[in-house]
Amino acid sequence: MTAAVEITGASKTFTTRSGPVHALTDVDLTVGRGEFVSLIGPSGCGKSTLLRLIGDLLQPTTGTVLVNGKSARQARLDQDYGFAFQQAGLLDWRTVRSNVELPLQLHGVGRSARRARAEELLALVGLEDFGGHRPPQLSGGMQQRVAIARALAESPTLLLMDEPFGALDEMTRERMQGELVRIAGETGAAVVFVTHSIPEAVFLSHRVVVMSPRPGRITDVVEVPLGARTEDTREDPGFFAAVTAVREALRGRPAGDVGQRLKDVRSAL
């Protein structure tokens, strides 16, 4: 079976007035089907650029990007992925329901099928009572849930998320993380998730990809062997071990193996 995402030797150079900017150099990354992978790193490390290469919103200067075994462009035309941005980006003049219907409407799905799918998705994100509301009437967290429902509208096998919880408060953020883990599990979609937050990356992901800037590149990949996530996961010693591993990797030290680190912690106790 082909991987959800397969990136080989991808580089991206932007030409600016003050000369070329090497946003990404020589990136190799594979994301399996149903796998949850986070991209983490400081500003300017190219994590958003990498996400846009996968979504074909940007094209690599060199290298190849395959999604479900086809070119990123073909995958975009086939609507293989759903994209959620840092801003919810809802259309304020449409109802919540009709915002969720937008991609279906653009791709010619009939009115009643559209309506049924929107209701299903709103129930999935816990907003079944808000279909008739307009986005400005909702809180930031609710707007992001609508955006996630919209990204899921066409049952994509891949979700691309660019700091979708970045503007939310900590409590809302943790609740949204829990819901996202559940939704990803229920839909079986692979997720590539860009974030600044170490605990967020560790809680959500099977693997955390650590990046560094100038030039943007992947410096480490931390496996997070934590099993099914619950709210208790956040207090699990393994969670802290993984957080430490990612933090070390971000500081440029080798992250090592989280399992080994966990054993060290347990024996010290």
Binding site: R52, G55, L57, R76, L77, Q79, Y81, G82, F83, F85, Q86, Q87, G89, L91, W93, R94, T95, S98, L102, P103, Q105, L106, H107, G132, R134
Partner: protein, 258 residues
């Protein structure tokens, strides 16, 4: 309930202030024994308005029709040209600065020149002045609305592999509607001003502007003021009509009906 109360709260203060202002004006004119050619008393203006109500109403109708036709023509042209300029970048780069410059031109100055292009009894030159005046804010605002596309919406539509027509239909046009209505409100007021003032420069003598100049020439100042009152009512009517259309359409849009 709350709607009724907030409506009263919105309307009452300006109405009370307006009535007090008129009362003070009346008292001032009487107490200081001001001559009518300097400042007519509100009571005298009202009396004139009552006496000449029919003539003023007919004149208001003529000026109002010129304003309405000119506004309609200017609105259609403004929207069409804005749509073209929004679609074709080169056209936008050509026309947008020209229209911005036109906005700074006192267009009623054209009235005497346009008057000479047509027969003395033609309403066309006045309607042209109105149309040009109304065209400017409609074009500028509509184009600004059509050209605005938030980066997140641009990326979202790209991720849907949506065509330019899809973006126009689902984002640019609905997003431009509030801008268009802002332009329409400005244009509606400008249309009445342009219609009345263009009559000051001769031509057909059937509207409020020509009544005002005639009354002033005949030193009948309360009558001139009465026609000014007609112009005030006309201007308010146009503004409120534009506002009502805006509320109706944007309200329907907000309710998800369009």
């Amino acid at each position: 309930m709350t709607w009724g109360r907030s409506w009263v709260r919105a309307v009452l203060p300006p109405v009370v202030f307006g009535l007090l202002f008129v009362a003070a004006w009346e008292v001032f004119v009487r107490a200081a024994d001001i001559r009518a050619y300097v400042l007519a008393a509100p009571s005298a203006i009202l009396r004139e308005t009552g006496d000449r109500f029919h003539n003023i109403a007919v004149a208001t109708g003529h000026s109002g029709l010129n304003a309405l036709v000119g506004l309609a023509v200017g609105t259609v042209l403004g929207v069409l040209l804005a749509a073209l300029c929004g679609r074709l970048a080169l056209l936008g780069q050509t026309f947008a600065p020209l229209v911005a410059a036109l906005a700074a031109v006192p267009i009623v100055c054209l009235a005497p020149i346009l008057n000479n292009m047509y027969s003395l009894t033609s309403t066309i030159p006045r309607r042209e002045v109105v149309a040009i005046s109304a065209f400017v804010p409609i074009f500028i605002n509509t184009l600004r609305g059509l050209q605005h596309l938030a980066p997140v919406h641009a990326e979202l539509m790209a991720s849907y592999a949506a065509s330019g027509t899809d973006v126009l239909r689902t984002i640019r046009i609905p997003g431009a509607l509030p801008h268009f209505f802002t332009g329409l409100r400005i244009a509606a007021s400008l249309a009445v001003i342009a219609s009345v003032v263009s009559e000051y420069f001769g031509g057909l003598k059937d509207g409020l502007g020509s009544r005002i100049t005639d009354n002033v020439k005949a030193t009948d100042y309360p009558a001139a003021w009465a026609s000014v009152l007609g112009a005030v009512v006309l201007g308010l009517a146009f503004f409120l009509a534009a506002l009502a259309v805006e509320r109706l359409v944007l309200g329907r849009q907000a309710a998800g009906l369009t």
